[in-house]
């Protein structure tokens, strides 16, 4: 009998510690599936952030490094420069990547560093108790914006995918979501492409994944998925913002919008 739900080899099988309904786990799983499908597990080194996914090194079944808050792209750069024939990815939240680590990701992209970054945008700092993140929506209540994010005093959400799509070295930039089965399938396609970009040595690749934080949003898992679709997707449009020029030329890569 065929197994319908099989654990990817690129996951250790250790139970996730994430809150019920948190989509961190889904993203872990699809990254692992991509690693399996590409057959790169034994060549892969992952770099985890500081944030709720700080224990990602317990889950991914490959060599892993725990970085300081925001510095994963710099750490990944160090690894990749020493081991250019290995596959190196970072997994980072929006506090990690878009607040404290903005410089590291922008410059890894600017150098065209041949690494893959998976960026979890859940519009809050999860781990530290639901504070405002650079991606928090205007009006969204967080523990540090109790009356809702005020544009006048705290600005408006940073659109990381759009920002990085202006950087020449960032050759693959996409934003995806995981709020329903169809979006999960598209997310997986994008993440796989982001690894393929690295395998082809083309440059920096990043996939921004809109993700839920039911705990800090104060919603049930299902409500959180709905909230994401209704409130985040309009502000953070989904799609591929950049694809390698090479892919258009020789017709590789599906090019399908995701």
């Amino acid at each position: 009998m065929a197994k319908i739900f099989q654990r990817p080899a690129a996951l250790t099988g250790k139970a996730f510690h994430y809150c019920p309904g948190c989509t961190h786990g889904i993203v872990h799983r699809i990254i692992a599936q991509c690693i399996d499908e590409l057959g790169i597990r034994e060549d892969t080194i992952g770099v985890c952030p500081v944030g709720c996914s700080v224990f990602a090194y317990e889950y991914f079944n490959c060599d892993m490094i725990e970085a300081a808050h925001g510095r994963a792209p710099a750490v990944a750069t160090g690894v990749k420069r020493v081991l250019p024939d290995r596959v190196v990815f970072t997994y980072q939240g929006d506090g990690d990547l878009a607040a404290i680590g903005t410089a590291e990701v922008v410059h890894a992209a600017a150098r065209g560093e041949k690494i893959t970054t998976i960026f979890i945008n859940n519009a809050v700092f999860g781990m530290t108790g639901g504070q405002m993140a650079p991606t928090t929506l205007v009006g969204q209540k967080t523990t540090t914006t109790p009356k809702g994010r005020d544009r006048e005093t705290t600005g408006s959400p940073l659109r990381v995918a759009e920002l990085l799509s202006t950087v020449e070295g960032a050759v693959y930039v996409a934003r995806v979501s995981v709020h329903n089965p169809a979006s999960v399938i598209r997310a997986k396609k994008a993440i796989k492409k982001a690894f393929e970009v690295q395998l082809q040595g083309l440059g920096f690749a990043i996939v921004e994944v809109l993700s839920t934080c039911p705990t800090n949003w104060g919603l049930s898992p299902v409500e959180a998925l709905e909230w994401l679709e209704k409130n985040m997707v309009p502000i953070f449009p989904l799609g591929e913002f950049r694809k390698p020029a090479e892919w258009d030329k020789n017709g590789t890569g599906e090019g399908a919008s995701c």
Binding site: T12, R41, E42, D43, T44, I45, V47, V54, F55, Y57, N61, C62, D63, M64, I65, E66, A67, A68, R71, A74, V75, A76, T77, G78, V79, K80, R81, V82, L83, R86, V87, A103, E104, V106, H107
Partner: protein, 356 residues
């Protein structure tokens, strides 16, 4: 004899290459610039990587990654940049990774200036970043010694899986002296690094490089393991130079550039009948307390000279433990004490009347 005239800053680079280092990550700052300039040219020629990071914060984290991947790797900066690196250094210690960090110290605090100083002694020897840890700290005092210290730095870093900091200042960095490169570096075997995160490639167990240790009981064990390592380093790795110490009554204590000035003072004092000597700590950590215990009963007092308001002098006092007087002369902020002013201070201490 293959002697060449070389700048201190270049010698850091030459010494690193000879010690097998092929990776450099850094961010520009004076007065260490000749070092990155040198390596930017040399490393690509020999298949290495020179990478200019967007900040010192980033540079030290690149070092973390390269060290995790098993490479001999270094960075270099000067005081303000080293301050920015402290978080990363603490992580490197926590993850027990080897690397070499150079601090060509300058006058502080704040932006200060680019003149020679030793005001980062506390930062280098007492931890520097957060948490309970030590760096091994080497303080070369000549261009030749820079070359040998770079080899030593990489060897100690690998041996103890701990960062090693090599400190100098703008004088040492800009100074040219002859160096004999014969017998340095070459075909040394780097230790294997089975713990490195290089991709599993047939290895059964995953390797994980990490400094997170969430359970206090376990983290205490980690800290005690570090403490055991530091105890071993204190027992085995104290290094110092003695100059005129055998029959010395008055002992100068100084490191790096200031130790060169102090040697000049010893020469002058000896000519004028004062039995002076010098203890020059080579390892600032572990501090060479053995050198002090050796002479404590024979001497009448110590004069510590630093380019700071008095930092190493605290370690000198800890070693001497009140058994002899310890005096201090310091020039902070980028000033260099002259032979003459140190000599005058020594005479005062020795109770010799200054004439005129």
């Amino acid at each position: 004899m293959a002697r060449v005239l070389m700048k201190g800053n270049e010698a850091f680079g030459e010494g690193a290459i000879r010690a097998g280092c092929r990776y450099f990550f850094g961010y520009p700052i004076t007065p260490q610039s000749e070092l990155p300039h040198f390596l930017a040219k040399r490393l690509p020629e020999i298949g290495g990587v020179y990478l200019q990071a967007e900040s010192e914060v980033s540079a030290i984290n690149m070092v973390y990654g390269a060290a995790a991947a098993g490479a001999r790797v270094m960075t270099s900066s000067s005081s303000p940049g080293i301050s920015l690196m402290q978080e990363g250094i603490s992580y490197i210690v926590g993850a027990q990774l080897p690397c070499v960090i150079i601090n060509v110290m300058r006058g502080g605090p704040g932006l200060g200036n680019i003149a020679p100083a030793q005001g980062d002694y506390f930062q280098a020897t007492k931890g520097g970043g957060h948490g309970d840890y030590k760096l091994i700290v080497l303080a070369p005092a000549s261009v030749q010694e820079i070359i040998t210290h770079m080899q030593l730095a990489f060897d100690l870093a690998d041996k103890y899986r701990n960062p090693v900091m090599v400190v100098g200042d703008g004088i040492l960095g800009q100074m040219m002296e002859p160096v004999d490169l014969e017998g340095t570096g070459g075909e040394m075997a780097e230790p294997s690094k089975p713990w490195a995160t290089t991709g599993m490639r047939g290895r059964k167990e995953r390797n994980i490089v990490n400094s997170l240790c969430i359970v206090p009981e376990e983290n205490e064990k980690n800290n005690l393991q570090l403490a055991a390592k530091y105890g071993e380093i204190q027992r085995s790795e104290q290094r110092w130079e003695e100059y005129g110490l055998d029959d010395a009554e008055w002992v100068l204590v100084a490191f790096g550039t200031v130790a060169r000035v102090a040697k000049g003072v010893v020469d002058k004092a000896r000519k004028e009948g004062i039995a002076a000597g010098l203890i020059r700590p080579i390892t600032l950590w572990p501090f060479p307390e053995k050198a002090f215990n050796k002479v404590i009963d024979q001497v009448k007092g110590f004069l510590t000279v630093e380019m700071s308001l008095g930092q190493m002098v605290e370690d000198v006092r800890l070693c001497v433990q009140g058994r002899q007087p310890v005096r201090f002369l310091g020039r902070p902020g980028g000033m260099v004490p002259s032979v003459r002013e140190v000599y005058e201070e020594l005479k005062k201490m020795a109770g010799v009347k200054t004439c005129g």
